[in-house]
Amino acid sequence: MGIKVVCASVIGKSNNPLYIRCFDSTEEALKFHYIVHSALDVVEEKSTAKKGASLDLYLGMLYPTEDYRVYGYTTNSKIKFIIVVQEDGDSHDQAIKNFFRKFHVLYANTVANPFYTPDDLITSRKFNEELEKQVKTV
């Protein structure tokens, strides 16, 4: 498979990070935190530019760096999902879209937990485990 998700993150309404998880142990996590943070600007730009577009949720590729590409997905509740992937060659847009959809469902299930307050850091063990599984099967 050509894609490897190296970092997945959930960003809250006020651009506060709710969850950042890096799946690549060779790189320093801080580098990914930085990439995700700079991606937020692109997200802002894309979401204000589109008006009434039906495929609001998937934002597509936000920007490429030397080894990675960053993809974004926003929800109507202003929660953003940003992932950093390592791809070879052609872009597997459909697979990325599917991943985001599953990620979104996973997030919704986690929010349904009555002990979780929205806009809190996500510390759910189930969320972690499920996300790992999804990342492996992307």
Partner: protein, 191 residues
């Protein structure tokens, strides 16, 4: 273990379940979740929350039994073992859409365990670390106690295992304390 009465109850359970009104499962789960979190905020002591949930369940049970008897048309149970089967297969099916399993009878047939593989109340729920003492779905214990009391059985129901605590299934232990025989005059009993 006598399984003869078990299969008809499964079928009865499904028939009754098909006839009753349904509600969206997520709404139900979220409503119960907010009840529990509110109780936790109000009482702060988890043991107290367990007690309150049980009391709420008791109030639900004493009313729910009438609905159950009216809809399910299940006749009198010959003994406590039959009661257990009816509760597990018809009662749980009718109100929660799940069937429970009756296991672990004691020698005198006065205690049994109800094992629930999945429970709509606990869908999506993850207990935070410090909540080990909380029996999240304790309301069910109260419901069982309330309902059985209205049919002349005084029981105690307590949670012994819960999926939210890491066990693979939830288990409620039901103990028959006494049969209340003098409550209803013979003229009001129907055969």
């Amino acid at each position: 273990m006598a399984q003869k009465g078990a299969r008809p109850y499964d079928r009865i359970g499904e028939q009754v379940f098909a006839k009753v009104d349904k509600i969206n499962a997520e709404l139900f789960t979220l409503t119960y979740g907010s009840i529990v979190t509110q109780l936790v905020k109000d009482y702060e002591d988890l043991g107290e929350v367990n007690t309150q949930l049980e009391k709420m369940g008791y109030n639900i049970g004493v009313r729910l039994i009438e609905e159950f008897l009216a809809r399910s048309n299940v006749g009198r149970c010959a003994d406590f073992t039959e009661t257990a089967e009816v509760v597990a297969k018809v009662g749980f099916k009718m109100f929660l859409g799940i069937t429970a399993n009756v296991t672990d009878w004691d020698a005198e047939k006065k205690e049994f365990s109800l094992v629930l593989d999945d429970n709509p109340l606990t869908e999506f729920v993850e207990l935070p670390e410090s909540y080990n003492k909380l029996w999240y779905a304790n309301i069910l214990c109260g419901v069982i106690r309330g309902a059985l009391e209205m049919v002349q059985m005084k029981v105690e129901a307590t949670y012994v295992k819960c999926v939210l605590h890491g066990h693979d299934a939830s288990e409620i232990r039901v103990v028959l304390k006494e049969i209340l025989t003098d409550e209803i005059p013979a003229s009001m009993r129907d055969e």
